[in-house]
């Protein structure tokens, strides 16, 4: 089963929850850090990566041989990654979405595809789980292709947790799609609620079932509970708002080190609660 942890609003606890879920299960499940612009799961996993793989996309290269300046390549590009100057074409790889359209459009075959590095994948052994992190190189903006290549390493069997990037844009959608279930982590603040609604609407649009975990649950928790009740969103779990949890996190200790009693709740969530919801919705 594949479960993504998303949120809408940043800083609500996606990484905390993702790590705790993977650790609670501790049966060799896989955790993917899909927040490739700012991956941080590895900060809670000791040691250096045992394997690193470069991530490349393809971009066009102008070969200077036989261009008659027809401009078909420039017109084919939706991303303004090419500029034609007479019988020359300038390429801006950082603008390119690697669609290959320009190469197909060129009748004279003067463009060819060449590899262009955008980041890497890092593999680490966690406490009872495997962590694979996507790491985008500084200065690049194409997160979706990196996330796509990261997801190619999902093992065929076993539970997979995916720590999604914040927001509801392409990189979040690329992460959550093809998951069986999405856990939305939020906090009981107006911002948390606002972005929870955005994330929920995004998931409904692509027909993904989701439930809510309320992090930093304090006196204001009714704000989220009431909304979830109205919207028919299951509240899966509440994590209390406690200073010692924040302190533990700051030391890189993780949630379960401070709240070992949550281990059983997380296990139940993954092995019983979510499968039951999927079964009830006829999705399993």
């Amino acid at each position: 089963m594949k479960i993504a942890v998303a949120s809408g609003k940043g800083g609500t606890g996606k990484t905390t929850l993702s790590l705790a879920l993977a650790e609670a299960l501790a049966n060799g499940c896989t955790l993917l850090d899909c927040d490739v612009e700012e991956p941080n799961c590895h900060l809670f996993v000791a040691g250096e990566p045992w394997r690193q793989l470069p991530v490349e996309v393809t971009v066009p290269e102008f070969t200077n041989d036989g261009c008659d300046g027809c401009g078909r390549c420039v017109r084919a590009c939706r991303f303004q990654a090419l500029a034609r100057l007479g019988k020359r074409v300038l390429v801006f790889p950082e603008m390119c979405h690697s669609c290959g359209g320009c190469v197909l459009a060129c009748p004279h075959k003067v463009l060819r595809e060449v590899p262009f590095g955008i980041g890497k994948l890092e593999f680490r052994h966690g406490r009872g789980f495997e962590l694979i992190s996507g790491v985008m190189d500084v200065g690049h903006a194409m997160a979706p292709p990196l996330i796509r290549q990261l997801k190619e390493h999902i093992p065929p069997e076993g539970l997979v947790i995916m720590d999604a990037p914040p927001g509801t844009a392409c990189s979040m959608v690329m992460t959550v799609r093809n998951n069986d279930y999405v856990i939305l982590v939020t906090e009981p603040t107006p911002f948390g609620l606002h972005d929870l609604k955005l994330a929920e609407a995004t998931l409904r649009e692509i027909d993904l079932p989701c439930g809510v975990v309320i992090n930093r649950a304090d006196d204001g928790v009714a704000l989220i509970r009431d909304y979830c009740h109205e919207a028919g969103l299951p509240v899966l779990l509440e994590i209390p708002y406690r200073r010692d949890i924040a302190e533990g996190y700051s030391r890189g200790g993780g949630l379960l080190a401070v709240c070992p009693d949550l281990r059983e709740s997380f296990r139940t969530l993954l092995t019983t609660q979510i499968p039951a919801i999927l079964q009830a919705e006829g999705r399993l």
């Binding site: 034609r84 603008m95 903006a141």
Partner: protein, 120 residues
């Protein structure tokens, strides 16, 4: 020699647009005759990204040999430089003032972009 000025309107009387890629219009001023032709920048204004690249390409295609604008980013600058179009940056308010400074030799040719690019 034709010079492209970035403008918020369609004549030299109007305020210059300090932006290059997302300027409202380019005014193509002919140094020999003083005639002004308006080149709309609508396509680049509506582009989600790469406005500077596209605008620079249009300027090059217009036959302009120089650009007078407020600021120029790295991608537009690369296109203009590769095409041999000179870039002059100015704080002049309108087209007349910019041209007066240009003719008096008071505008210095830019040797690099003066602002950061977007999307990177």
């Amino acid at each position: 020699m034709k010079v492209a000025l970035t403008s918020r309107g369609d004549s030299l009387d109007v305020l210059l647009d300090s932006r290059f890629g997302r300027a409202a219009n380019f005014l193509l001023w002919d140094a020999a005759t003083g005639a002004v032709e308006v080149l709309a920048n609508t396509q680049s204004l509506n582009a989600a990204q790469g406005a500077g690249i596209q605008a620079a390409m249009h300027v090059v295609e217009s036959g302009a040999e120089a650009v007078i604008t407020g600021h120029c980013g790295p991608k537009a600058f690369r296109v203009l430089k590769e095409a041999g179009v000179k870039v002059y940056l100015t704080k002049a308010l309108d087209g007349h003032e910019a041209i007066r400074l240009f003719q008096a030799g008071e505008l210095k040719e830019a040797d690099a972009a003066d602002v950061e690019g977007h999307w990177v």
